[in-house]
Symmetry: C2
DNA sequence: ACAGACTAGTTTGTGTTGCAGACCTACATG
DNA sequence: CATGTAGGTCTGCAACACAAACTAGTCTGT
């Protein structure tokens, strides 16, 4: 039944489902890595928010965060882990079922 | 830029974005109307939860809730309003940009 | 050299919300 | 009367999103 497919929606990964993080993950899914400032300008999130969303993604094992320096200036570089990419793939598959009717 | 499309994700309608309600709206989008018990069995939500999500959707103007009787038994029948359908259409368009395979 | 501004990011505080479960109302039936 | 059904409300709690305050260190002007 169609309902069974749909019911899976209630089990989507909330870490990714949150719009701000979905945006971050979607952005990162298209590149190898991105630094904090790039993400901030793309997402227009405040530093505080961006920082905590990144931490959340890291905690979930979806993101690798490398802190280094560009010259004397600290630099935070982020990239999705393979679990992160897999989780995003799954999320997309689930959501397409709910919204993607035209995609098929 | 692709980033601009994506950034719209952060503005999705949270009323619909919540998985339980997304499920309800997706179900209702495929029928003219559905009663409380049907929704409960399809969603597997508790009565309490289902009731409050329905109220939330009604408050948002997305849902019409008609309380009546089937014989002597009370019956709550729900159907999306045209605003509800429009909101869902918009939501789907926004989310497809984030998860749709042919986004670019 | 030292104050003040700037950069990069983290921590804290607050209000909202999603959810489960207990309870309530009204009617019907065994 | 006791139980069941339909459809809720209410309460308590944990999670969380967001903004604002804060920290650490660098750069600039005088």
């Amino acid at each position: 039944m169609a309902g069974d497919d749909l019911r899976a929606i209630t089990e989507v990964d909330r870490v990714i489902h949150e719009p701000a993080r979905l945006l971050i993950v979607a952005l990162l899914s298209e590149v190898r890595s991105a630094d904090f400032l790039f993400l901030q300008s793309e997402t227009r999130l405040t530093k505080g928010n961006l920082s905590s969303h990144l931490s959340r993604l890291e905690q979930a094992g979806y993101l690798q965060i490398d802190k280094g320096f560009r010259g004397k200036v600290p630099q935070t570089v982020c990239s999705l882990t393979s679990e992160g990419r897999a989780a995003f793939r799954l999320y997309r598959a689930q959501m397409r079922r709910a919204v993607g009717r035209s995609a098929r």
